[in-house]
């Protein structure tokens, strides 16, 4: 049996314009989705509990009757979402804080009392106040911005030439934007886990970009040969990570570990986007730089 080989792409068949069109179109679409989301909902993505405030309660499903009915009977307030965890006898019930409303008070305590009165067993309670959530959202945005800025500065310091550096930065930007748009379409909420994943994407996506740039710029040899060598390694890396993340996302979904699930899904999408951005957009920018940009 032969080992799996990374397929070779014959870049000479396509013009720069053709190659760069696909990733740019996808990026434009992603930006449009996020912009549209912002106009429609007032936020660029579906914000999770940590960013809106509210209460999440995990109830043990002891098998005595229909959980949905019992939940409806127990709580005075209608839950915003009720979600059963497949591989664990647990139901997650979410109550959102009223945005812009009065201070919620100790909503969790009331809900805890109601659940107990309704004979439901509580496995976990998580309460986030609306003002704290707003703070968290601001902090998270700031964190992603700083991380991105730091990465950009470092990349420019490493390569010290404009086009290859901006290629890395642009592809990392697109790698972050596309998963956010995908999250909106798939109905995945933005949580602290997804923020961690977005920062992780910065780290992962730059790996293959640096590898490519290094291969083309710092080593002698034919451009296409360098690209295909970098691609063989880079695609292996990305696909391996993707496999780990997809498996993590699936198993964490089964067991209801939201943090791991969110990180897994976002990284898998981000790495997918990275394959496209690195080997279509980045390669094209480098080719233009190598053959036309330098001679100017």
């Amino acid at each position: 049996m032969r080992s799996i080989e990374v397929p070779e792409v014959d870049y000479t068949d396509y013009t720069n314009r053709q190659l760069v069109l696909v990733p740019l179109a996808v990026l434009a679409l992603a930006l449009a989705i996020i912009g549209g989301w912002y106009l429609m909902t007032g936020a660029p993505a579906n914000l999770g509990l940590e960013f809106t405030g509210g209460v999440e309660i995990r109830l043990a499903d002891d098998g005595e009757g229909d959980m949905q009915e019992r939940i409806d009977a127990a709580f005075e307030q209608e839950p915003d979402s009720v979600r059963a965890i497949p591989a664990d006898d647990v139901v997650v019930v979410t109550f959102r804080a009223d945005p812009g409303g009065e201070e919620t008070g100790d909503m969790a305590s009331d809900l805890e009392d109601q659940a107990e009165a309704g004979g439901l067993t509580i496995d976990a309670v998580d309460q986030v106040s609306a003002s704290f959530a707003a703070d968290t959202a601001q902090t998270a945005l700031f964190g992603v911005a700083i991380a991105f800025l730091g990465m950009s500065v470092l990349v420019f310091a490493l390569f010290r030439t404009f086009v290859p550096s901006i290629a890395v930065v642009a592809s990392a930007f697109s790698d972050i934007i596309i998963p956010i748009a995908a999250m909106n379409l798939l109905g995945i909420e933005m949580t602290l886990g997804t923020v961690a994943a977005l920062l992780m994407i910065i780290g992962y996506s730059v790996d293959s970009d640096i590898l490519l740039n290094n291969s083309v710029l710092r080593r002698t040899g034919d451009f296409y040969e360098s690209v295909s060598r970098a691609m063989r390694t880079g695609v292996t890396m990305t696909v391996t990570s993707m496999a780990a993340m997809i498996v993590m996302a699936i198993i964490a979904t089964l067991f209801g570990i939201d943090l791991l699930r969110d990180i897994g899904i976002i990284l898998a999408i981000g790495l997918c986007a990275d394959l496209m951005n690195t080997y279509l957009m980045n390669v094209t920018l480098l080719r233009w730089y190598k053959f036309e940009g330098v001679s100017r």
Partner: protein
């Protein structure tokens, strides 16, 4: 003799790290610190010395700010801090002087805070304006001194309540606001909130018949306050099954001042709780209104009267005779044993200098111990499967156990070293940390793929020299990639974003261990396996 060591030092270093990690993980010397009276075996959770965070062990976490407003850059105009505090308190209606504090920071002045939760920012601002002291601005929150005090009170409260393993720290949000972060393993959310929500002030007032008062009852407040008590005993029951807390009242004072015990003794006699004819018979709890009632001692906890009592004749006699203050022994009787326990905890731990705003601006989370244990198991399964996925991909790609097997082993060694580090410093393992481990395996294998591909490119590795030059070339990429990951993750490490700092810390540590120790070692291993000798 030294040559083999020199040639293989990278591999040897990895072996040393693995041994060190094993020691940290399994040696009883590195077991978690035990709480007083706790069995060392109980403090260890499972086979290893690893400690688990709340989401994997169960317990309650509360993050909340202290309520209050602080005026910054206040010029004291030569007044001492207590004068400043008194002058500002005077401008606030219905606010006790104890709720206003001034802290001197330099010769010019300092900060003034109000900790009464009913005072609004506007009220405080106009009080500051009316007091005539110049100030810069008013911000939410309390002074650093008050936060320190609150931290130690909360720590005391948790310890006095017998909750082992609890922790308290101060964290600052990006907007500059300070939060108290309290974690109590194994305890329910409501119980912890009950413990912390109230400030735990304990004082003795005297209620006495007063014709001028609206309901015929005058109250002399703060006859005894928290700081006047010492030698606080545990809640007990007397021969009539009445719960009480034995305390003594401080009976020593600096020259020229009256000690709290003497002051109390005088007040008791003045108000007629103790008189020549004996002690008062208190009926306050049955009927708190009326001028005909006899005077009472009121035990007030967090502003509410929890019990009222008179005095037996023997004690009254020693009060009138002025001999009681020599010992100062006193019993705070309560109506229920729970109240007695609460009073005892409050007196021992002290009162919170400001209220925690748990419901309004905080977050609180509770995970039951069973759910925590489940998460521990599920997270482990998730991690194992993720590693299998990586291993599977690597074998499919290389088809050569010589290359792939050391790759998997090296990546696992990184995680093992990280676990050892966590056990060594006692960092609690949380879900976020496990996510960090998985991320480390991901980046680790990426780098190993770079090394393997680079080394094996362009045909056979004929000599050590060829190998070394290719390895160095690969290492430039790895170093650059590691630097970007560290930069991307470092904001998470310092920003207060919940558990995510654990994720960032372990991802960064993993990348460092990888670049400095394990990935070079993989290079050495690969060289031995590949170089044609």
């Amino acid at each position: 003799m030294l040559d083999p060591i020199k040639q293989n030092w990278r591999v040897l270093l990895l072996v040393v790290v693995i041994i060190a990690a094993s020691v940290a993980l399994f040696a009883p010397q590195f077991a978690p610190d035990t709480a007083p009276g706790e069995d060392p075996d109980e403090a260890r959770q499972g086979l290893t010395n690893l400690q688990y965070g709340l989401d994997l062990a169960g317990g309650t976490r509360i993050r909340a700010p202290l309520i209050g407003y602080t005026a910054t850059g206040v010029e004291f105009d030569g007044d001492n801090p207590s004068e400043v505090a008194a002058n500002v308190a005077e401008q606030l209606e219905g606010v006790s002087a104890r709720e206003v504090n001034a802290e001197e920071l330099d010769e010019q002045g300092g900060e003034v805070e109000v900790t009464d939760p009913d005072v609004t920012e506007d009220e405080f601002r106009s009080a500051m304006d009316a007091s005539g002291y110049a100030y810069n601005d008013i911000r939410r929150g309390v002074t650093a001194e008050t936060r320190e005090a609150a931290e130690s009170v909360i720590r005391g409260t948790i310890n006095e309540a017998g909750l082992s393993g609890g922790s308290v720290q101060q964290v600052q949000s990006i907007t500059g606001e300070w939060f108290m972060l309290v974690e109590v393993p194994g305890e329910g959310r409501q119980d912890v909130i009950d413990l912390l929500e109230d400030r735990g002030t304990v004082q003795i007032d005297i209620g006495y018949p007063d014709e001028d008062a609206e309901d015929g009852l005058g109250v002399e407040e703060e006859v005894l306050v928290q700081d006047d008590f010492e030698n606080i005993g545990t809640a007990s029951r007397d021969e009539n099954d009445q719960p009480y807390v034995p305390v003594s009242v401080i009976n020593e004072a600096p020259e020229g001042e009256q000690s709290p015990a003497h002051r109390f003794q005088d007040a008791v006699v003045d108000r007629g709780v103790a008189s020549d004819t004996g002690g008062a018979r208190c009926t306050y709890m049955e009927d708190p209104v009326g001028e005909t009632n006899e005077p009472c001692l009121l035990l007030v906890v967090d502003g509410e009267v929890v019990n009222a009592f008179g005095m037996d004749d023997g004690l009254a006699e020693s009060m009138v005779g002025g001999t009681w203050a020599d010992s100062g022994n006193f019993r705070l009787t309560t109506t229920s044993f729970e109240d007695a326990q609460q009073v005892s905890i409050n007196l021992r731990a002290g009162a919170l200098p400001a209220e925690l705003d748990i419901a309004g601006e905080g977050t609180s989370a509770f995970i039951s111990p069973t759910q925590g244990e489940n998460f521990r198991f599920y997270a482990m399964i998730t991690g194992v499967f993720a590693i299998f996925a990586v291993a599977g991909m690597v074998f499919l790609r290389y088809r050569e156990p010589k290359v792939a097997l050391p790759m998997i082993v090296t990546a696992l060694a990184e995680v093992y070293a990280l676990l050892g580090f966590a056990a060594l410093v006692g960092y609690p393992i949380e879900l976020a940390v496990i996510a960090g481990f998985i991320a480390v395996v991901g980046t680790g294998v990426d780098d190993l793929v770079i090394i393997a591909d680079e080394v094996m490119s362009e045909g056979e590795v004929k000599s050590r020299k060829v190998f070394d030059s290719r390895f160095r070339r690969a290492f430039w990429v790895i170093g650059a990639a590691a630097a970007t990951t560290i930069i991307a993750m470092s904001p998470l490490m310092v920003l207060s974003l919940g558990d995510l700092s654990g994720f960032a810390i372990f991802t960064i540590l993993g990348v460092l261990i990888g670049v400095l120790i394990t990935r070079p070692a993989y290079g050495d291993i690969l060289r031995r396996l590949l170089t044609v000798r």
